[in-house]
């Protein structure tokens, strides 16, 4: 096997990046800060991997040109292997990929951010973005739901968010009476229902487990939101992130290039199971 280095740009080949910071968020998730200096939109994702283990898509949850932050939940091989890393280790990343949230077109609006569980990760990108462009948007409302107080992500940031924005955290079940960050017991949907909010100059961003998204959309529509005011993040199996391998295709749309963020009216007919 005569192998030689080639100079042609190869879309499959990731590059090594250093981990600047490794922070454990919850028992099964962690945040990694890598020294990848790129331009990207909130909601875009990268393919993160380790040699010999594989790659997986992870949303960028920060907004900076100096580094990227990734919040990762341990669910399988790649994510578990990543969880064993520490500051100073090297990971392989390629990207960014996908279409993020159309923040520029939403200038002048209020932003309603609704996240469930690990779905909060991509949404943090919007929060950071809005913070960096504070003048461009009116009110920021955050509605974040978790299963229990132990699952609450970004606890380091929550205090700041609480001071700056309208923040509501819910937990499905309050397991040990530790009511931090003013969290309420109940589902996000309930909190949404009781929220005094209208669709007036407001865009809603939803990310979370499929069931949660379904009910949140219903509530939003009850509150008068139009389909084109709602933005969703979708998740599918993907290998290439280049719009070729076809695993992430939802009725002809590729999650990796046409998504992962879709406006609800673009994909409401696309659910194919």
């Amino acid at each position: 096997m005569a192998k030689q280095k080639t100079t042609v740009e190869n879309p499959y080949v990731p590059k090594p990046y250093k981990i600047l910071e490794f922070h454990r968020e919850t028992s099964d998730s962690f945040t990694v800060k890598a020294d990848m200096k790129i331009n990207h939109d909130p909601g875009q994702f990268v393919q993160v991997g380790l040699p010999g283990v594989g790659e997986c898509p992870i949303s960028i949850c920060s907004d900076s040109r100096e580094f990227i932050q990734l919040n990762i939940r341990e669910v399988g091989n790649v994510t578990t292997a990543l969880s064993k890393l520490e500051q100073g280790d090297t990971i392989l990343i390629r990207g960014p990929y996908g279409k993020g949230y159309p923040m520029r077109y939403l200038k002048g609006n209020s932003l309603l951010i609704i996240g469930g569980g690990c779905g909060v990760a991509p949404l943090k990108g919007i929060i950071d973005y809005a913070e960096n462009h504070r003048g461009d948007y009116k009110k920021l409302s955050l509605l974040l739901g978790y299963r229990s107080p132990d699952d609450i992500l970004f606890q380091r940031e929550l205090v700041e968010w609480k001071n700056k924005y309208h923040l509501q955290v819910t937990v499905d079940k309050n397991t040990h009476g530790k009511f931090c960050y003013g969290a309420r017991e109940g589902f996000v949907t309930d909190a949404l229902k009781s929220m005094d909010i209208s669709n007036n100059n407001q865009a809603a961003f939803v990310c979370g487990p499929p069931i949660m998204m379904k009910f949140v959309i219903k509530s939003l529509k009850d509150k008068g939101f139009n389909d084109d005011q709602i933005f969703l993040s979708t998740e599918r199996l993907m290998y290439c992130a280049l719009g070729v391998c076809c695993h992430c295709m939802i009725k002809g749309k590729f999650t990796c290039v046409d998504g992962p963020v879709f406006r609800y009216d673009e994909i409401k007919d696309l659910e194919d199971g």
């Binding site: 010999g52 283990v53 091989n77 578990t80 292997a81 064993k84 890393l85 520490e86």
Partner: protein
């Protein structure tokens, strides 16, 4: 990384009733076996080792099925002593040919039963997971030797290879074989979990289903197709049960059910292959 690189995975390879073929499949990785040993801490492998240290294991790889009381004792003990139990081979995963005894007439083997000492008393031939929890399966009779390697290489790094779920046909077609069903032969590839690289079909033989049914099999259709090719129900049952009968408890019901009778399939090849 935080993992302690000097702490190797403590592995034990054992066999209960079986043909030793699965354990041989490990050794028969001729080019990699010596390297493999540097990856793990092989505490026990009685098949080729005199000194077998019986203690807490990280991973036990166990061949063979439960056929007598002694087997059952060993299985339970190994399960207690290990973080992870891996069933190696068809006997361990599905019962293989020895478990076909469940489907044969008692009179066929009755005369072979005889008085045995306590620990040799027969137990209904059964795969591991009928008795204890199994963490990982490496199916096949024999198991694919590369698959065993892949498993070991993965588990030392904490990566469990995704178990195969696709039918044998996927690999068979990829290997460029002509489809045996088109020649009227009774191939079970479509309902059998792949991972064997379709070795049997590559070798000119039909798949007998040794790696077990896929979760997604269309059993109704498979039965119908075999009937179309002139195979009677006795044949279909016998063939499907040879290796994995215990994992097809629904077979009889499906065969008697109405569905496979109405499906409209097309077969334009030769009828009847055997007889």
């Amino acid at each position: 990384m935080k993992t302690d690189k000097n702490k190797k995975l403590k592995v034990g390879v054992y066999g209960i009733t079986g043909c030793s073929g699965c354990q041989l499949s490990i050794i028969f990785n001729e080019e990699e076996i010596l390297d493999l040993l540097s990856l793990i801490d092989l505490k026990a492998f009685p098949f080729i080792k005199e000194l077998n240290i019986d203690e807490e294991f990280d991973c036990i790889i166990l061949e063979g099925l439960v056929a007598n009381k002694g087997d059952l004792e060993i299985l339970r003990k190994l399960r207690r002593n290990s973080k992870m139990l891996v069933s190696l081979g068809a006997c361990a995963c599905t019962g293989c040919v020895p478990a076909y005894r469940h489907f044969t007439l008692k009179e066929n083997y009755e005369h072979l039963l005889y008085k045995k000492q306590e620990e040799l008393q027969d137990v209904e031939p059964s795969p591991h997971d009928e008795h204890v929890k199994v963490d990982y399966y490496i199916p096949g009779c024999p198991p694919d030797k590369k698959e065993i390697l892949r498993f070991i290489k993965g588990s030392v790094r904490g990566v469990l290879p995704r178990p195969h779920q696709n039918p044998v046909c996927i690999e068979c077609r990829r290997n460029g074989n002509a489809c045996l069903l088109d020649e009227g032969k009774p191939c079970l590839g479509p309902i059998t979990t792949g991972g064997c690289n379709a070795v049997c079909i590559n070798g000119g033989f039909e798949c007998w289903g040794c790696r077990g049914p896929t979760k997604d099999m269309n059993l109704d259709l498979m039965i119908k197709m075999l009937r179309d090719r002139g195979f009677d129900d006795r044949f279909i049952q016998d063939r499907m049960r040879t290796f994995v009968g215990l994992k097809l408890p629904m077979l009889e019901r499906v065969m008697q059910g109405p569905k496979s009778k109405v499906l409209q399939t097309r077969f334009d090849g030769e009828k009847k292959f055997y007889e």
